[in-house]
Amino acid sequence: MQNYASQIHRCFRCGYCKFPTDYSSFNCPSYRRFRFDSYSTGGRLWLVYAWLKGEVEWSEHLAEILYACTTCKNCTEQCPMKFAGDIVDWIVGARSDMVEKGKIPPRVARFFEGVYGYGNPLKLLRSDRGAWADGTKIYAPGDEYLLYVGCLGSYDENAQKMAKSLVDVFNAAGVSFGILGNDEECCGNEVYMLGEMGLFQTLVEKNNEKFKELGVKKIVALSPHAYNAMKNNYPALGAVFEVHHYTQLLYQLIEQKKIKPSQNKAKVTYQDPCFLGRYNKIYDEPRQILRSIPGVELVEMERNRKDSFCCGGGSGNFIMDLLAGSEDSPGRVRVREAYETGADTLAVACPSCLTMLTDAIKTEDLDGKLAVKDISQIVKESLPAKK
């Protein structure tokens, strides 16, 4: 990571970072939620610079402003400056400094404690990690893919359903795969984004070692967050496997006619996960999967693809939820936008989005009007019933 401290003064606080491309609304989740300029990217960068210069003291409020960023990368897409691509690194760098000084919000500290002590930020037992997967094959050398499920897929009730659906779809397609069950460890993507570099390195080393030991050549990740870390951060720390997001493999299986979805009448809109879309430019495969299902009508929300609005769960906020508590909380804003399209289903491809948006549906009283489903669930529903 570059030395952010020598660069961070370059932000002009022009505010392009707050918008999507067409300027139709505010697209920075924390600015949208709090509306103080201090909660925009420019606000954060100016405050961090002030902190480095000693012009503002550290405070819990300062730390919360920094950690309210979901690292969704909208700012990177919109900032007109040459340093646009470095902004998230600067945010992570500043967080890393706060972590080193032990100056982080309590909710962030609890997140780290969970991952360090339990292997997951939810502080649930390691021995229960594979409990969701009753009957699912454990990875063994010779399997083509390791299905990496991740913390939410392993422990969160909604995300477990997503994982089970994907397992069923893979089994139906005859994919050679296995999971790690209780031996799975946190991927570390959020730990990295929250700036705990020591813990991140430990997690990556553990995972890389395990993958090597098992001879894993290909990983398919349930979560775009894990996919992102494994694709972009793990190689520098010795990873030698190839990694796919499950939507990439699912689309391939449909192309190869190993999965043949049948009628599933639904009007569907799709939420681009930040770590799949803006981070890794995977916009088409999830849409192609949905389009391949007879009866599915895909309608776009006003903000989509690189202009998609984050669910508010990034950077560990699916647990810490620093942006909660308001009708302007990103998840609530997003489900209202989805509902305005006239869709009956809000499709996601990320356990974090699934959790955040499912909660938002309840708060917005849209239960029964709009269903949040993962693409794997929609595909599973569309598979012909077993005879």
């Binding site: 392009y16 918008f19 300027y23 139709s24 103080f36 201090s38 007109p80 040459k82």
Partner: protein, 460 residues
């Protein structure tokens, strides 16, 4: 003080008021070079009624109130010089009405230019407003309050000339409608045929009231736009070129730029001409008019139109212009500021000489862009200098250069656009004494407790 915080929280809700160090720090400065001064409270009202309640509270407590849009003037106009309550108006962001037939829009006091542009493109693609070159977060009201310019200024004057009505919370808390909307449901005129009272609020930088709604004229959005670039290396010809183009009454926008980079254009004055048309024929006719108008310079080999490839036209036609913002990071320092006098076009050569002289003396990177205003009656000439925020010495040099540029512009008969508090003093020092007395009387009459953005337009 905690009583004021509680009172503000009761008015707007606790989520929308802060007295914490972080908000006070950020709202206590802008991206320019004026020294910071922090507010005691930052408040984000949502309604006119909330603004009224805040103003009444401020009067009771004798606390300053500073209304703020995006704070992008670069001249510190919303830095709360005496602390108090900073009103971030951006939660008042509704587009209330587009009257398609009469051609105006009514927006709330914190609506951004970006939101308006996007709304019109989506719902009224045949209409447009004058988009400034400032970043998209700039608000329609704040831009009008500083007499901002935009892409239609060459044709229709300052953006404040396009205002078609106001709703204002007076410094004493009453709500007042200005223009045709004071007597009619329609916001088509800012004053005529009645007295034009918008002059009590536009150009006053929030010292006479808080604009909570604003009517703005809309103009036809032609189907086609094109950018032409005329180059000359003779500074003495630039005023005539700009004037002749302006007087064709056919050009959307005329801006002359001058900078030492890129090297291939060094020493040249690049005059951007934007034309529009509802058909290719109309566009071609205007293109030909531009050529015919400037043909003499082509014949004398003093200038000519540059062939502009399509990908180069994209940033030239973009609204808002990201290139304007990018100038801040030319030397990887994150800062620029400009002194922007409004002046007769004929002053262009002298101003260019001064621009370079100051850049050389203070070792600064520079650029200038001069926009033709209202059919070439005047121009806005920018003395723009970059600076590195991590280099206090360079920041001081840039500030000194800008101070000298402002003094020079006044000497030359110009009037400083959006002057900082020091430049306001320079302006008032030269002002007809009776005019200054009139301004002072107006201010005292409207704001008896002197709570509104104190420090600005304050005669000493």
């Amino acid at each position: 003080m905690s009583d004021i915080y509680e009172a503000l929280a009761n008015i707007v809700g606790k989520d929308y008021v802060s007295n914490q160090a972080e908000e006070r720090y950020f709202y206590g400065r802008d991206p320019g070079l004026m020294p910071p001064h922090e507010p005691d409270y930052v408040v984000m009202p949502k309604t006119t009624e909330e603004v009224q309640e805040i103003v009444k509270l401020a009067n009771r407590e004798k606390v300053p109130v500073v209304p703020k849009g995006a704070g992008l003037s670069l001249t510190g106009l919303v830095i709360p010089q005496r602390g108090g309550i900073l009103l971030d108006m951006k939660r008042m962001d509704k587009i209330l009405e587009v009257n398609e037939k009469a051609g105006y829009v009514i927006v709330e006091g914190g609506t951004t230019h970006a939101a308006l542009k996007s709304h019109l493109e989506k719902h009224y693609p045949h209409l447009r407003h004058s988009v400034p070159d400032s970043p998209p977060i700039a608000t329609v009201v704040a831009n009008a309050v500083i007499h901002g310019q935009g892409r239609l200024t060459q044709q229709h004057g300052f953006n404040s000339d396009m205002v078609s009505g106001l709703e204002v919370v007076l410094p004493t808390g009453e709500v007042c409608r200005i223009g045709s909307c004071a007597v009619s449901p329609y916001w088509f005129s800012k004053g005529p045929p009645m007295p034009d009272l918008t002059g009590l609020f536009l150009g006053w930088f929030g010292t006479t009231g808080i604009i909570t709604k604003l009517g703005m004229k809309l103009y036809p959005c032609k189907k086609f736009r094109d950018a032409m670039m005329f180059l000359t290396d003779r500074v003495d010809l630039v005023p005539d070129i700009m004037r002749k183009l302006g007087r064709t009454e056919m050009m959307e926008d005329i801006v002359s730029s001058f900078a030492p980079l890129p090297l291939r254009l060094k020493g040249n004055f690049n005059i951007l001409v934007v034309i529009t048309g509802d058909s290719e024929e109309e566009l071609e006719f205007k293109r030909k008019m531009a050529w015919d108008t400037l043909w003499e310079y082509f014949e004398s080999r003093d200038g000519g139109f540059l062939s502009v490839p399509p990908d180069m036209k994209v940033p030239l036609l973009a609204m808002p212009s990201k290139d304007t913002t990018r100038f801040a990071d030319t030397s990887k320092g994150g800062g620029f500021e400009y002194s922007g006098p409004i002046t007769p076009i004929d002053k262009y050569p002298e101003f260019i000489t001064k621009l370079e002289e100051l850049a050389s003396r203070y070792k600064l990177f520079y650029a200038s862009s001069a926009r033709v205003i209202d059919g070439a009656h005047a121009m806005m000439f920018s003395f723009s200098y970059t600076f590195n925020r991590a280099n206090p010495d360079e920041m001081n040099r840039a500030k000194t250069a800008l101070d000298e540029a402002a003094e020079f512009a006044l000497e030359e008969g110009g009037v400083i656009w959006k002057p900082n508090i020091n430049e306001q003093q320079m302006v008032m020092k030269r002002m007809d004494p009776n005019t200054l007395k009139l301004m002072t009387k107006i201010k005292q009459l409207l704001d008896p407790n002197g709570i509104m953005n104190p420090g600005n337009w304050e005669a000493k």
